[in-house]
């Protein structure tokens, strides 16, 4: 039977073009920060779980293997997970399995991505596609996402102006985040005036390419009780993946993310949450593009399906709103190092612990949800954490 799993520490680091750092140095930095945060030593760690999406970004095959020493994982079990963007949450879920299955007591989860080493991240992203059918079309992330965004706006009547409001909110929130790469004070008109990358996705609808890493330490119930009087538990996890062929999905509509609803349902069922709007206090939602935050808010049940436009219009998801979303700045403001989007989980933890500094929301946070999206634009991972 599955044991309970707690988060006992996080390791943060500023997201930036870390040109002078190697992968090892980035990993070492967050691993040490996490150990200090949890008041543990590297000998205490039983195993390490790595998450990094694309090796080709940094040009090292099995890049996690070159950072084994730095991660506290030397001569210990290490495992690397790689599900593109959703690595950010599917990796801590893999760490959760390590502990919940009873195999390990203390697991270090490290997600990193070094994207500044190559000349064009989008050229690398083209190599993720099927080489026979899709790659020759020259698809990359903004193009693929504009197809999805168009379908979403059409299906639910959401406007580009509403998308722009998400960008203004998140980049503004990032002003109080010391780890953020691109905090900006913007107006909706600034966003609307930014150039189109691929209609309807504009430059300021996207999240910046960056380098960075994050670490969290997971503990079994027995160890967590020794370490802290106020453990933050992983209450629910969920994963869902649709067909990798986006033309082959059952609902034939890129606008509705069936797989994200599936993942959210699993996580909430496991956590015993019936009504997320009232039971969730805080959310860090995966927002590589503005419209993705809106889609994910709907899928996570933070607003009714199709209601994300009103949610942002009414200021519900603002930092001082009733259900704050991405008070850290999200990927838009903090930067988007693909796998290290695990920052979403870290911020949920910090908000619950009341350690979020200037990003702390003005309300009590007991339960928080985060998600990540990736795979072949078809995979969603959701995690609900909270107090007893």
């Amino acid at each position: 039977m599955a044991g309970r799993v707690a988060l006992v520490g996080v390791g943060m680091q500023k997201f930036d073009f870390r040109k002078t750092d190697t992968v090892e140095e980035m990993v070492f930095d967050v691993a040490r920060n996490a150990l200090e945060n949890a008041r543990l030593h590297k000998e205490d760690i039983d195993s390490v779980v790595f998450g990094s999406a694309v090796d080709a970004f940094c040009g090292i095959n099995n890049s996690d293997k070159s950072a084994i020493d730095a991660s506290t994982g030397l001569w210990k079990p290490t495992m690397r997970n790689s599900t593109s963007g959703s690595t950010a949450v599917s990796t801590p879920i893999l760490g959760y399995s390590h502990v919940a299955s009873g195999l390990h007591d203390l697991v270090m989860v490290i997600c990193f991505e070094k994207m500044s080493e190559n000349t064009g991240a989008q050229a690398v992203f083209n190599t993720v596609y099927d080489e026979a059918f899709v790659r020759p079309l020259g698809l990359n992330v903004p193009i693929q996402c504009s197809l999805e965004a168009r379908a979403y706006l059409h299906r639910y009547g959401v406007t580009e102006r509403q998308m722009a409001k998400v960008s203004v909110k998140n980049r503004g929130n990032a002003l109080s985040n010391p780890y953020a790469q691109l905090p900006m004070k913007l107006t909706v008109d600034d966003v609307l005036a930014s150039p189109y990358l691929s209609w309807p996705v504009k430059l300021l609808d996207t999240s910046p390419v960056t380098d960075g890493a994050r670490a969290v330490i997971l503990a079994s119930e027995r160890v967590a009780r020794e370490l802290t009087d106020d453990p933050v538990w992983i209450r629910g996890v969920g994963r869902g993946a649709d067909s990798v062929w986006f033309m082959g999905r059952k609902n034939s509509d890129l606008g509705r993310l069936d797989y994200a609803y599936l993942a959210a349902k699993q996580a909430y069922d496991m956590a015993g949450i019936r009504n997320p709007v009232t039971e969730i206090d805080y959310a860090e939602v995966y927002d590589p593009f503005t419209y993705k935050e809106m889609q994910h808010c709907e899928a996570l049940g933070l607003c009714p399906e199709g209601g994300a436009g009103r949610m942002i219009d009414d200021g519900i998801s603002h930092k001082d709103g009733p259900l704050p979303v991405n008070a850290s700045g999200g990927l838009q403001g903090e930067g988007n190092p693909i796998g290290a989007g695990m920052s979403r989980l870290c911020w949920c933890y910090l908000q619950i612990k009341g350690e979020a500094g200037a990003c702390q929301v003005p309300k009590e946070v007991n339960n928080a949800v985060c998600n990540a999206w990736g795979g072949m634009y078809q995979y969603n991972a959701v995690m609900v954490i909270g107090r007893d």
């Binding site: 080709a56 084994i68 690397r80 299955s101 993946a241």
Partner: protein, 385 residues
Amino acid sequence: MGVGVIEASENTTEMSHKDLLFHATRRALDDAGLERKDIGGAITATFDFLEGRSLSNQYTLDSIGGVMKPCDLRLGEDGLYSLFAGYMEVMVDPSQVTVVASVQKASERDPAGLGYQKLIAATMEPIYSRPVCSSVPDLGSLEAVLAAMDARAYMERSGVTEAQVARVAATNLHNAEHGGKKSAPGIEDILSSDVLSWPIRRLAVARESDGACTLILASEKRARRLKQEPVFVKGVGWCSGNSHLPSREQGTAKETKWAARAAYDMAGIRRPEQEIDLAEVSDWYAHRQLMHCEALGLCGPNDVGASVDLGIFERSGRLPVNPSGGLLGRGNAIGTSGLIRVAQVVRQIRRQANGYQIPGAEVGLAHSWGGIPTVTAGVAILSKW
């Protein structure tokens, strides 16, 4: 619970990696008497640079029946690790039936060319180790040069001779023939084959091949309701070490030793050389098989050479190692062979190993080694009970 394998002996040139996985998964489902709707989770493991595509395992999901299922993981690890991840998933949610799979399509990569050598250089840490590797005069021998350092250090330490290493290779090549026609190279042939980098000889290195393997995992309670007699995963262990060239420990297999210790602890095995009936271990290079046997505790630390001379690890010996032929005999589908080793052990325990069945095989060990230059190993103990 279910096993499906496609190996080099089949014609794989007309199949994509998705086809390979689809057919392997179909066989595994048939073997277990299940259908796609029964699958609850899907885990695959492959390496990006080997596959020539980033996020290489994303496109495997449809092939293994994982669409819109509650568990989905894509590991950047050796195939055997998908078994470990699958094991943990089943422990967390015992109602779940999990498919674990791995595929390798080496034939698209020109196995005889420089592709793999470049890949080794690309795996190296870029500041200190990679320039050293890139400066090997003929990049074509990089793999052999690195393996030779390891082999020399090992032979120096253990006193194993070239003839003993050749005997291992000859045994595995012979095992792969299942007692059919006797055309496998003998010890003399191996000792006179090309020296790639002394003491590494061409016939003592496993050839790359295509392969795909799918296994189906379920909890004991779930498995008892199915048609196949289940084989149980009794212990798992995996370990990673330092892959930096300057600080490598040559001639040891410490990662295998630690992985085995964890797996034995879990399985309650105290005296592996007596409690294990057969082992399928990585014999990427013939000398590595001996290093692994030692690290796994299948013989005493000073008895390796003597064990080879006594034929203990041969098919008729006391503790048969690689009765299937191993990587040397069957081809090395890098990243997938580890999972295929598990499939071979399952066949032995189920008495399905036609032509190379070990009588009375009840407890088996499957081992995988990450290959040069990474220092990783995984061990799984499988048992009839």
